[in-house]
């Protein structure tokens, strides 16, 4: 996803000295090599088993932060939002036996709390 179009042609003025709240700025960068964590918490979350522990690259940062549904399911910390990342994982990384083109891959959005640097 591209950044939102800027209105007009003038460069926006960015003020300095603004302190961001925790979780406001994304922790990972586009192009960064990551690994999906192998956690197995109880409750509601949306990380499929087959990507846990797998290595990939951050392809895009989803611009709008979302609630942590893992916490929200228990009514906890529902106000704290973080980023989703669109992760690119090669099919060969997911399935050792994969027979298609080595370029074939998966794209999946993973919540910030499920990623670590690799």
């Amino acid at each position: 996803m591209q950044p939102v179009q800027k209105r007009g042609s003038k460069a926006p003025t960015v003020f300095t000295g603004i302190v961001l709240a925790e979780g406001e700025a994304p922790i990972f960068e586009v192009g960064e090599h990551i690994r999906v964590l192998t956690r197995s918490p109880i409750g509601h979350y949306r990380v499929p088993q087959y990507v846990r522990g797998k290595r990939g690259v951050v392809e895009a940062i989803m611009p709008i932060r979302e609630l942590d549904n893992e916490q929200e399911a228990f009514g906890r910390n529902a106000g704290s939002k973080r980023h989703y990342y669109r992760i690119a994982l090669p099919m060969k990384e997911l399935w050792l036996q994969y027979t298609g083109s080595p370029r074939d891959g998966l794209r999946i959005e993973v919540f910030e709390t499920w990623l670590e640097r690799n």
């Binding site: 591209q2 087959y50 979302e66 298609g100 083109s101 074939d104 794209r107 999946i108 959005e109």
Partner: protein, 214 residues
């Protein structure tokens, strides 16, 4: 979260000889309880069914046709699927975001939701049954080429396959390659070539589409 009741709701006057299933009974019971406790009204359920019924693949097809004829709209659609659709009056009643994935001669996109049935409902309406069933949901990420071949779509080895698994608040829509030989087609004629399956990514858009549907 994604379980729509629309397909299962029967009007009270509708006679059925079959006994309702366990889940249908549970659904009706919950519905009655919610109405009794005045958490929702019967009108709200009816309204939501109307919202869903107004979304069909024909809507998505118009979006694709617009992108094929209007390069500026196309770039806005690829930059932010939701706001570009909103320009055309398509609302995102479920507050999902939309990423539009562009198929090219080098890249073929395929959409799946391995966890349940996430689907770009605001643009396409309800998903087909096969999209919600375990065989497609598991095989689309394990052996996408074999699944595509079963739909009659054989992807050459030098074309990269990208499977997008919808798991969160983001939905996907495939922008198929505009078929060759459609240079003189009107926007409306182009829209007729775009099928639901082409926007999921299991088949390409072809000139034959309009004919084979009859």
């Amino acid at each position: 979260m994604e379980h729509s009741t629309a397909a299962h709701v029967h009007s009270p006057s509708e006679a059925s000889s079959e006994r309702p299933s366990y889940y249908e009974v549970m659904e009706t019971a919950i519905q009655e309880l919610l109405i009794q406790k005045q958490l929702i009204g019967a009108g709200e359920i009816r309204r939501q069914i109307e919202v869903l019924d107004s979304r069909t693949p024909a809507l998505g097809a118009k979006v694709i046709a617009r992108a094929w004829v209007d390069p500026e709209f196309r770039s806005r659609l690829l930059a932010n699927g939701r706001t570009a659709c909103e320009e055309l009056g398509i609302t995102f009643y479920d507050d999902t975001k939309l990423i539009v994935l562009e198929n090219t001669p080098k890249v073929h996109n395929l959409i799946v939701c391995t966890l349940c049935s996430c689907y770009p409902r605001p643009v396409l309406g309800l998903p087909p049954d096969w999209y919600k069933l375990p065989p497609y949901r598991s095989r689309a990420v394990i052996e996408p080429r074999a699944v595509l071949a079963e739909f009659g779509t054989v992807i050459p080895d030098d074309v990269e396959i990208r499977v997008s698994d919808s798991t969160a608040a983001i939905r996907f829509l495939v922008l198929p390659v505009r078929p060759e030989g459609t240079e003189n087609y009107s926007e409306e004629q182009l829209a007729a070539l775009v099928t639901r399956d082409a926007m999921i990514g299991v088949v390409p858009a072809t000139i034959d589409t309009a004919r084979s549907r009859k």
